[in-house]
Symmetry: C2
Subunit: 200 residues, 2 copies
Amino acid sequence: MSTHPDTRQRIVASARDLIYSRSYADVGVAEICARAEVRKGSFYHFFSSKQELALAVIDELGMALEDQVLGPAFARDLPPLQRLERFLEALHAFQQGTAEQAGHMLGCPFGNLALELATRDEVIRRKLETVFATIQARFERVLEEATANEVQALDIPATAQAMLAYIEGVLLMAKTTDDAGLIPRLGPAFLQIRIPAATI
Amino acid sequence: MSTHPDTRQRIVASARDLIYSRSYADVGVAEICARAEVRKGSFYHFFSSKQELALAVIDELGMALEDQVLGPAFARDLPPLQRLERFLEALHAFQQGTAEQAGHMLGCPFGNLALELATRDEVIRRKLETVFATIQARFERVLEEATANEVQALDIPATAQAMLAYIEGVLLMAKTTDDAGLIPRLGPAFLQIRIPAATI
């Protein structure tokens, strides 16, 4: 039985690839271990359950999102609205890359897990809520900068959440139609979304 | 073994309720038969596979959407943009009603199935694509009426698809946060979505 940290990482990477390209329910511990080339005993050394593994997979995907999409897109070398455009481009590149590898549009891994599991696993649902809150916070910072001089007050948290909802919806439609081209075609409309602050 | 048409309907209704509140993979034929109070032999008289049942469930849900949401919302007794507002209200009422019954926000049954199955079942993916196309066509008709006198030309199919994507995204976020209140809070922004026609 291997208890080496690399073994844990191999298990998480195998689970991430299998679950992202199919679904949580469709992938079992035995298949994950076979792909990672580890014994079941090693799996249970690192993870007490498939749920605990799913939480580690979400962390792993969250770091990949940060490194490959959010970090580069929201770097402060561009004005705020151009960072949002760069975010769309990075998202499109990431989705197109995974689609070419997998043979299908895979969509948003967090959205996929949310719709599959939100009614049945409260721990995973809350974990996904925090991932979405992190992305939403990125949009909020950009909106604060971009609208600092605007006359009409914006409900920044609601607008950021609406922008995230739109992105999730575009990825859902892109996965359903198996067409990553939907991201550049529909994506730019997310820059128009504005929810005004309630007037007192 | 019952081959009565009512038996088929009971099987479809049971499958609809179980799959919508959990997931496709999580619900087996045995559980569907138990809930419908039919024997497995009756199930296989009507359906050759779980996939064939899923297609019947999607048809059933499509008819419910038409009767309870789309039909009443898009009746032509109101001007076009007010029909879209009525659509949002009907959607909120439907989602709130099912959430109260189920104890959780269930989201969009078509979006749920799309994210769970689009990479693994091409027949179900195509079926869901046609359901989304039907909803999109409703939005297109309203946009044609609403923008007939506008100066700036709109890409009506793209705008309608973007509106649908936004609604799917709001339902995804509402399910993830288990909060139907997101529909009235974020929903109205879908009236702002505009994708201009490409200039030649």
